[in-house]
């Protein structure tokens, strides 16, 4: 299984994502620059955190027009796995690959600390190794993670089980304590917390590990190979 970690000018969690893939699932992984125009060899695309294009205008607003994003849209439409973390989540909402938007934190503060998330749906490619209701410790680091969508969209998210993670103690004022959502097809996930920063006890938590092993597991199931333990 091939992983791509996108790199925009201003990405700063790209190395963490790369290392997390190496250390959790040990699959081939490449850094892919924002100017790339072919992602066809990749099965999973990770859009890392950071401040793409300095977050000028709005977080993710300029990155979403980078050449590589047309390829991400293609990959998403083809059913490949796309995970946007933090700034990556912001890029995915700006690109319209996920509904809603991320506003300034209610507190106006940049919040950087561990958060406890509740796994709401474990029937996705990103969460199949978790239990529903499992409480996991994943850190956040953002100033604009306050998820918003209109009421019609919110109803759809609930109806289709697209709310994947909720905060147990909401750090940013997001609607319904939303920390992460997926698209209707379930192959595109966006979340504000950083699973790649929680893959080893040395980092304070290894609860993010299962997000990566879930992806590999989903891919193997899709490709009819033995699943990993």
């Amino acid at each position: 299984m091939n992983f791509a970690v996108l790199v925009f000018p201003g990405s700063n969690c790209d190395i963490d994502c790369y290392k997390a893939v190496e250390q959790t699932v040990g699959q081939p992984v490449d850094y892919v620059w924002h100017t790339a125009t072919d992602l066809s060899k990749y099965d999973c695309i990770l859009i890392p955190g950071g401040f793409s294009y300095g977050d000028y205008l709005r977080s993710g607003a300029i990155a979403r027009f980078a050449p590589v994003m047309a390829e991400v849209a293609k990959a998403a439409a083809a059913g490949k796995y796309v995970m946007g973390i933090c700034n990556g989540f912001q890029v995915l909402t700006e690109a319209g690959l996920l509904p809603g938007a991320l506003r300034r934190n209610m507190s106006l503060k940049f919040r950087c600390h561990s958060t406890i998330l509740r796994v709401e749906n474990n029937k996705t490619a990103f969460t199949n190794q978790y239990e529903v209701g499992e409480m996991i410790d994943i850190p956040i680091a953002h100033g604009e993670g306050n998820y918003y969508c209109d009421e019609v969209t919110l109803e759809q998210l609930k109806k289709n089980d697209q709310i994947i993670f909720r905060y147990s103690d909401n750090p940013n004022g997001s609607m319904e304590d939303i920390a992460g959502i997926c698209n209707e097809q379930g192959n595109v996930l966006g979340l504000m917390p950083h699973p790649e920063r929680a893959v080893n006890q040395l980092l304070g938590s290894e609860d993010g590990k299962k997000m990566f092993t879930s992806i590999l597991n989903a891919w193997r199931e899709q490709h009819d190979a033995a699943s990993i333990g």
């Binding site: 205008l57 709005r58 607003a61 300029i62 027009f65 909402t93 700006e94 809603g100 938007a101 506003r103 300034r104 934190n105 209610m106 507190s107 106006l108 306050n146 918003y148 969508c149 209109d150 004022g173």
Partner: protein
């Protein structure tokens, strides 16, 4: 040549935490008559065309595609020249 001025603000039905903070500050300073504070963005640029209708349409497209996120923001603009 037109001079375009674009204003982008958080939608009225969407909470604007900056607006709330500034309103709180104004109230605590004694400006208690203030309500509905919104913080926004001001953008100015020139457009190289002589056709006002075309200029309006182009600026509208810029706002829809990039300058505003219409999920949470409203925009309006003025053209001068």
């Amino acid at each position: 040549m037109f001079k375009a001025t674009v204003y982008v603000t958080v939608k009225e039905n969407v909470l604007d935490p900056q607006g709330v903070a500034v309103q709180g500050a104004l109230h605590s300073m004694g400006f208690s008559e203030v309500s509905k504070v919104r913080i926004g963005k001001y953008m100015a640029f020139e457009i190289d065309t002589t056709d006002r209708v075309e200029a309006e349409e182009r600026v509208r497209q810029m706002c829809e595609k990039l300058l505003a996120n219409t999920v949470v923001e409203d925009y309006r603009f003025e053209l001068e020249g």
